[in-house]
Symmetry: C2
Subunit: 471 residues, 2 copies
Amino acid sequence: MDQQQFRKYGHELVDWLADYMQEVENYPVVSTAKPGEIKSRIPSSPPSAKEPMENILTDFRNLILPGMTHWQHPGWFAYFPANNSPPSVLAELLTAGLGAQCMIWQTSPAAAELEEAVMEWLQQMLALPEGMAGCIQDTASTATLCALLTAREKATGYESNRIGLQMPLTVYASEETHSSIEKGVKIAGFGSRALQPVATDDHFAMVPRELEKQIARDRENGLHPCCVVATIGTTSSTAIDPLEDIGRICRRHNIWLHVDAAFAGTAAILPEKRAILNGIEYADSFVFNPHKWMLTNFDCSAYFVRDPGALIQTFEIHPEYLKTGSDAEVKNYRDWGLQLGRRFRALKLWFVIRSYGVEGLRAMVREHLRLAQLFAAWLKDDARFETMAPVSLSLVCFRLNDGRPEPKLQELNAELLRRVNATGKVYVTHTALKGKYVLRMMVGQRTTAERHVQSAWEIIREKTQELLAGE
Amino acid sequence: MDQQQFRKYGHELVDWLADYMQEVENYPVVSTAKPGEIKSRIPSSPPSAKEPMENILTDFRNLILPGMTHWQHPGWFAYFPANNSPPSVLAELLTAGLGAQCMIWQTSPAAAELEEAVMEWLQQMLALPEGMAGCIQDTASTATLCALLTAREKATGYESNRIGLQMPLTVYASEETHSSIEKGVKIAGFGSRALQPVATDDHFAMVPRELEKQIARDRENGLHPCCVVATIGTTSSTAIDPLEDIGRICRRHNIWLHVDAAFAGTAAILPEKRAILNGIEYADSFVFNPHKWMLTNFDCSAYFVRDPGALIQTFEIHPEYLKTGSDAEVKNYRDWGLQLGRRFRALKLWFVIRSYGVEGLRAMVREHLRLAQLFAAWLKDDARFETMAPVSLSLVCFRLNDGRPEPKLQELNAELLRRVNATGKVYVTHTALKGKYVLRMMVGQRTTAERHVQSAWEIIREKTQELLAGE
């Protein structure tokens, strides 16, 4: 494909995407494809000769598109969002077109320096402590692994990197913490038994005195408390762990504090919500994902540390073939994480923050918070439903409860969920809270407006009526 | 920014990129920006109000672009390439516009099934053993870490994931192996002292009998040999470790064999070069990067394993909030690697393989091999230079040698490199081979034609003459 064809098909795809953004609402949110259906229609061998782009794009529309679940659909109330936005997509186009691999400063000085600059912007937007330094990671899974590894190294005087982990280090997180914490604990060689789940209160937030008790007990048993992961906005219910109390405990016991605010961090750009990060001055590391709620294409995870030297000491390797004349004067972000290779991810953050402005991003978050409260109020007025967790941000956890026993309630709500999602108009997911099956209504898609939340509520009521009547 | 503006600026950027592809040759390959220069021109605080896209794009052109090192420049002879291509850029645009997060099958069935299909295509293209299964990782660093972790778990009966690494496991790689191996060994908790560098021969390839000796010695010392990393195409000289001999040793001693062919793997699509993978039937895992030499935008690393069950058992975690009704019937690739979140990377591979066809990709690789041989022949005819390693693929390692002592030779060649790169026409990098400072002429950029290699050779000769005359 030459430049002229690139131009032609590029224009075609831009137009197609502009239409898609407009029309995505008309697609079923979740693909109705059956397992194996798409693969069965893809030739089992690669073509020997080149194929015209027309054919590829036709197949894209006829074969791939019906197999997509549409994360940018305004009826997306599932998981957490992974929002893109028009300026972010444009930046991704440029990133792909430039095709720079940003492993070190010299291989793309603008990428390295723009990353430093936009991380400082985010630091200000969230009012993170001065002196923290940030870099972009692919996902919060990776950022949390970086935190665990740096905590491991600091706790062992950087000896684990050399001789392996020879001490029984322990890690603490609430029982509501994300699965990536356990995954990181396994990868970093702590072993999952080193992960001590801390009890949560009625609001699903970590109980600091339980944390302190466990630390004391582990110390007595000859274990070495190494790291606490506090979650600001848990996946199941956006519970907010009490950072100040946890932070003071960590400080007192000289334990690394990692704060995982993957989804909720974006809310801290609102002055009226910044309190969710009270106590962040105790954090050794902090992660939140602009690729969730800050309109920046997946992947883009913002990772901040108090001591970049410790991070670099954990990861730095300097083979001859990567040495450059400027190494002493610049930041080489390859030493700030796991991967050597790095995409130019700062560009899309820069496009997004400038295109919306901080006030524009705040307005979007405020609207999502308002819509979630609205939905919660409707729920409250309908005696068939109960709210299962505080609506601290824009997630509403609820269930249908007509008084039948718990296992039957689970079946009832799972069936309700199935029927609601089968409409193709909305996508809601579930979780478990203290053993109870719960529906999660997550309001956070960029294009979700009041009418979409209203429509979701109508669908939920309609399917509830059908379900209760039909039994 | 609404859809109409997206359309407008999308078209503008497509045109700009089409021009850029044509004109990139006119830019200096390596940015001439000074450390700190770009950041000093970026406002230190984010804008409160939104800014018009015109301003952002103007800044992109005036501020960011001069700070880019141009990886898609035909004068790119540095490191390894990170090639993009027009169809790959178009696919990246679609991936960004769809904005799907492909962590599990249900959140994007087409992404999961297309990934499975294109991995099977690659498997056929490289004639990998039947029964291997592949998935896309971000980078070879990550893929190798996955291999080390799976090897660790298999060697310890999946107990390290639970109790940490309690046995002294050892890992073997040639002394020419990539830095990511040491990084992975540290991250996975082996400790860097567990990594045993194996001596190389005159061609910088691992000496199998040295490997076997070390394994025997380590066994005697109570260590547990766990994993061998063989490199097909080392970073410094594209040396090819003898896979068959290494594989037989691994099989005999029941040691995991990981094969790192990050750059060179693409060459195996040529029937006449497939021999570089002879012995691959012994491999437990194999990685190569379509984002290097197969025209697929960074990041896209193809990771194959013989036993997907072992990989999944290493990484699987199944929290309630990620359970879906189709889990028993489908591949959920979140369990095939470190990160939970995943981009739709299969799309660009599909676009590339279909747009070029296998024969089109072969033609490109063959031309690079031819050009490297041409360059090597010119070098051979000029008595001032010596070739420092076999030209097994498309990398030529050489230096200027006028007989002065080694430390002075290093200075001489470093100065030659500086002057060659200062022209802005080409970008060549260096390495060390058995302690000697060596220049690396890597021919692998998609748009590099004979005239570019010829021009590089002219520049090298001209700067050599200047340098020797001016001393």
